[in-house]
């Protein structure tokens, strides 16, 4: 029987973490995602599955607790919102460098600085282009629904362990805070495997395991970088995910992710009502980005509008994908403002069709 619930995005992700068989959650409260740790503390998963939950003294500590648990081969996660994720940049770089698996959720709010607590997509660059120091990538999943938020917790852990790489769910204040119908997956078992790369206690028949991102010799560091790059190429080959709507006959194209894609879809329907043949491509992974799919559509459409709740970030990837084949423009509201479908349709008409 289906386990259907009406749940808030943040709480649904917390429940999904327990059901995904997570071993540990370390977090620090920040709006608009504090419901995750509140739900976990209330639910007390230590009794349900043995999962450990700890409120850390800071986001800096939380991500390093994740590092420690991940280094033992455990399913560890944290959640935060933009200013907190900036604090985690150091830890994420170390986790990527030490090739550890973990899941990080960013319920994005407007910035820069302390910014606003309202929803935003202005951490796109931080999520997909690095955020911390060094040549590394996070695998970034962008849910548009509470259902996807739940599913991506499970998928996120799978990808994190498949590639031994940090995975980020790039949510936002809309999806984190809104309530929707959601089907919860069944309880998954917690991991019992002792991974060869994990610090689980030295065995007499093997060398000690060292979890580190330090290489004193530049030749060795380059080798690490080459290995990481090879891994990222694999990720780019295997893990691109997107959905397209009404693209078959499209003369114009919207590209939008996350909550913004829902609003853009409504704008698409309004445009179709007016006889404008516009489609929508919604990246579900923003790293790896669906470059090929967008490039293919670029040969078909007269123009592309990248709709984002930021001042123009994903549009740079759309331009890279299009590679000059057609016009690419950006429309965004930001600082916590949410665009209306009418505004988006208007932007299409002004910037692309009339532009």
């Amino acid at each position: 029987m289906k386990d259907l619930r009406l749940m808030k995005g943040n709480e649904a992700m917390a429940e999904a973490a327990i059901r995904a068989g997570a071993d540990a959650y370390f977090g620090y409260p920040i709006t608009p995602q504090s419901e995750v740790i509140e739900y976990l503390m209330r639910e007390n998963p230590a009794e349900r599955t043995g999962m450990q939950v700890l409120q850390a003294e800071s986001e800096v500590a939380a991500i390093n607790m994740v590092y420690g648990a991940a280094g033992c081969g455990k399913r560890a996660m944290t959640t935060s919102s933009s200013p907190g994720v900036s604090l985690m940049a150091e830890g994420l770089s170390y986790i990527a460098g030490a090739e550890l698996p973990c899941l990080v959720v960013n319920v994005v709010r407007g910035g820069p600085g302390l910014g606003t607590i309202q929803p935003s997509q202005s951490d796109y660059f931080q999520a997909v282009k690095g955020g911390g120091h060094g040549d590394y990538k996070l695998i970034v999943l962008a849910p548009a629904t509470v259902q996807e938020s739940v599913d991506y917790v499970k998928l996120g852990f799978e990808l994190a362990f498949k590639y031994r790489n940090p995975v980020m769910i790039l949510s936002d204040g809309i999806i984190g805070q809104m309530m929707e119908k959601v089907e919860l997956f069944e309880q998954q078992p917690r991991l019992t495997e002792e991974f060869s790369w994990a610090t689980v206690g030295k065995k007499p028949d093997r060398d000690s395991v060292i979890v580190t991102s330090l290489q004193l010799q530049s030749e060795e560091q380059e080798k690490v970088n080459l290995r990481l790059q090879a891994k990222y190429r694999e990720v780019e080959k295997n893990e691109v995910r997107f959905e397209s709507y009404e693209c078959d006959d499209a003369e114009y194209l919207f590209v939008a992710f996350g909550s913004c894609a829902r609003i853009t879809r409504k704008a698409m329907e309004m445009a179709r009502g007016k006889g404008i043949r516009v489609g929508l491509l919604r990246p579900q992974t923003v790293y790896p980005f669906p470059y090929d799919a967008i490039n293919k559509l670029a040969g078909q459409v007269k123009g592309i509008l990248s709709v984002e709740m930021n001042a123009g970030q994903m549009v740079e990837d759309v331009r890279l994908a299009v590679n000059g084949k057609t016009t690419v423009k950006h429309f965004g509201r930001f600082g916590g403002m949410i665009p209306s479908p009418a505004e988006i349709l208007n932007a299409l008409e002004q910037k692309i069709i009339g532009g």
């Binding site: 071993d23 540990a24 420690g68 206690g201």
Partner: protein, 254 residues
């Protein structure tokens, strides 16, 4: 020669523990790190917990501690070792977990992580090497640098008015209910090294009993950073460091 008869396996009274690897330590001649490593490794050896011990290395001179301890280890970001150790111990509660941190790592950039781990009473051992200077980066002022002490960033001596006072982390953490055993030791003489080893052993035994955080400070030298010979540095440490950082137990479990 008569001595030749003495050198035989049945007469062996002291050799390097196998919990230390055979790698040559990168530390400067006379640096206390090596002795501190060995005391801890001997404890792990004698308790028979090599396969159940997970260590966390810091950033600083002992960043490569994982080359020398033959146990599974993680390398933490600067100052974050107690947070990393928290992640390890919370998910591997049956393991013996330790951090090994210098004064810059523990008492400057990692002050928050240290205090909060101790305040939560995390069941692991923190080994704190205090030599009052940043050794690895070339002898800069540490939070524990003594008043008037010269370093490359206090070239005229630490002026406490503008540079702040040496931080007594060990006294601070002893105040926290989460700590169980807090002590300050040194490793510069045979007697002191043996006392340090006893303290480390006690700490591991308390960890087994889940008594809370154990914190062992080892006041140590930095011949290179202090610009002294090893012998001079040990004498200077006795005369200058010990009055400010007195040796002995600060908190013992009841």
């Amino acid at each position: 020669m008569a001595e030749n008869n003495i050198i035989s396996p049945e007469n062996l009274v002291y050799e390097k523990t196998s919990v230390l690897t055979d790698r040559v330590l990168h530390y400067c001649p006379g640096c206390g790190h090596g002795t501190a490593h060995r005391m801890l490794a001997e404890v792990v050896d004698e308790l028979g917990i090599q396969g159940d011990t997970i260590g966390v290395a810091p950033v600083g001179c002992s960043v490569l501690a994982y080359y020398y301890f033959d146990v599974d280890m993680q390398e933490a970001a600067h100052g974050r070792a107690p947070a990393v150790a928290t992640g390890i111990k919370r998910t591997m509660p049956e393991k013996y977990v330790f951090t090994y941190q210098g004064d810059g790592d523990l008492a400057a950039i990692g002050t928050a992580e240290t205090l909060h781990a101790c305040n939560r009473g995390e069941n692991f051992l923190i080994v704190f090497i205090n030599n009052g200077i940043y050794g690895m980066t070339g002898g800069q002022m540490a939070p524990t640098t003594l008043p008037g002490m010269k370093s490359s960033t206090s070239p005229y001596g630490r002026d406490v008015v503008t540079m702040g006072n040496p931080l007594k982390m060990t006294e601070l953490v002893a105040e926290l209910p989460g700590t169980c055993f807090v002590t300050r030791q040194s490793v510069h003489t045979p007697a002191n090294a043996r006392k340090t080893k006893r303290a480390l052993k006690k700490a591991m035994e308390y960890q087994k009993q889940n008594k809370g955080t154990c914190f062992v400070e080892i006041v140590s030298n930095c011949p290179s950073g202090w610009k002294m010979t090893p012998a001079e540095s040990n004498k200077w440490m006795e005369e200058n460091m010990f009055p400010y950082y007195p040796l002995g137990d600060i908190k013992v479990p009841s």
